[in-house]
Symmetry: C2
Subunit: 323 residues, 2 copies
């Protein structure tokens, strides 16, 4: 079975572990979000791609969910001693090496997709990991400008500044994947969708992760037109994000933080099946009324077994949809 | 007193410590060799400038003479895990931060002289440290090509490859500061020479350190024409380099590894005074016969006191020359 997964960072990576456990023989292609990529200290950092790569390759900091295990911070300390920031983005020494290799390869002319393949040659994640695009897309968030005297002015900040530095503590008025409209899917993306038996949306952020991938022209259309089951898992459980701050960016796009609202945001033109948590069983009818088949199951990725069960249920729902 | 010092790496840096101790009120400008600069992992590394900066700024690995104290090597280990080399150049985590800051600033358009000034703002070396040039100069060494079937062919390697990877273990047929002929002295270099009361050549490598600085058009002429004492200290003691492998590159330029031969290599048109070690007292007459005033004193930089005494003798000799 060929499965395509649209993945953000931590949630996507953990779901993929469960999926690989539930379907060990599946041929899995991951289309990774690159809208949260950022240039720091002159280096290209791809947080979501790296989280997937490190998680599936056994290098992740398990408790934290991002960054490397057994990490040290000598480089970051020294950069701070030089007065060079930002200090709010936590890059460890081992992680720096990844960004140095990536930046060197990009400087030598390799596209991000080729760089990602080269990095994965070391990590052997067990999936094919593709960036959504080789072009530069940068998710910006429109927030109030605290320096504006009248409190009316707004400014756009990089998603990482909103998410990591500001901890999503200020209202997001809009989320814009800058450059997405001009971006082309990376080599292999459309081909993987065309060849897939099923497409899965993990419980990743529907706006800044899955939504950004879908904003690359051609991706949404390819998935909608593939004639295969498309099944997602709700990142909202009991009207709150399981982790992260998805509610903040859902508000920016006018979507309620409920499992049903996210399903309807994706829409029946794209989504065929939707899994909600058992606490949201009351939402099943609402989702089905919108033309999306829905089941309520436990959706907390507490351990590999629970996550594998979620992935297995997603595949069962896909077969139901296929009919 | 305004002193200009032409410095390579370890020898130059240690001499400068002695000079600052011997002449604490002197205004010292260091013109640093950049011919051994190298791009590694996409980062610009300036070994000689950094050795001076770290040594005078208190960050040097004292026993090793180069690199940072309390260093760790996580980044290097990770780069090796990615299969990215070279592995023969020892960059530690703390050191990497310097190269990351430098590369980022150069990428942003700052010349190396401005970058060096910015880095020194942290290290406060107590001297003004100028790169010899903001232009790219790269010292190459012509060696036998071990892969050539007839043993006749030669190839050029970067100085660091010759020095660090090959440990100068193969004959050097020529030493070429590639790009030097097109290079311009960095801002401040000619002005510092014009304003100086004395110019000193530390016991640095006369070919690949001091020689490379003198190869930047205008520098040798400015020193020779300044009408001020120019005094050097022999890096050769008892027909062998005090440290390093200066004899290997002296042979490449047809100069014997003796204290007298190095003085004559600089020449009386440039050099006014020369200090040799007491074991080379027999060379004094030969050097003076070449028109260069010469004294024999202990020249081993065993500790700060001994080094300060050497520097003091150099200044005494300069005053003798001034007459």
């Amino acid at each position: 079975m060929r499965i395509v997964v649209l993945a953000g960072g931590i949630g996507g990576a953990r779901f993929l572990r469960g999926l690989m456990s539930a379907a060990p023989d599946a041929d899995i292609t991951v289309i990774g979000n690159t809208g949260d990529d950022i240039h720091l200290f002159g280096l290209k950092v791809c947080p979501d791609l790296d989280t997937v790569m490190y998680t599936l390759g056994g290098g992740i900091h398990e408790e934290q969910g991002w960054g490397r295990a057994d990490e040290t911070f000598a480089v970051k300390e020294e950069l701070a001693a030089y007065g060079v920031g930002p200090e709010w983005f936590g890059l460890g020494d081992r992680d720096f090496a990844t960004h140095i290799v990536r930046t060197q390869m990009i400087g030598a002319g390799y596209p991000l997709s080729a760089v990602t393949e080269a990095l994965c040659a070391r990590w052997q994640p067990g999936v094919r990991l593709l960036p959504m695009t080789d072009d530069r897309v940068e998710t910006h968030v429109l927030i109030d400008d605290p320096d504006a005297p009248d409190g009316e002015s707004r400014k756009a900040v990089h998603f990482q500044e909103y998410w990591v530095r500001l901890r999503a503590s200020v209202p997001a008025h809009a989320v814009v994947p800058v450059g997405a409209d001009q971006a082309k899917p990376a080599p292999g993306v459309l081909e993987a969708i065309a060849d897939a038996d099923v497409v899965l949306f993990p419980p990743s952020n529907p706006v800044v992760s899955v939504g950004t991938i879908l904003a690359v022209p051609g991706v949404r259309e390819a998935i909608a037109d593939a004639g295969i089951p498309v099944v997602g898992l709700s990142p909202i459980v009991g009207d709150a994000p399981v982790r992260g701050m998805a509610d903040k960016v859902l508000a920016a796009v006018g979507v309620e933080s409920t499992a049903a609202a996210v399903a309807k945001h994706y829409g029946s033109g794209l989504l065929d099946g939707w899994l909600v948590d058992t606490v949201d069983a009351g939402a099943v009818d609402e989702v089905e009324a919108a033309g999306i088949r829905c089941r309520a199951i436990p959706l907390m990725m507490t351990d590999l077994e629970a996550t594998a069960a979620m992935a297995a249920e997603a595949l069962v729902l896909a077969e139901e949809v296929r009919g």
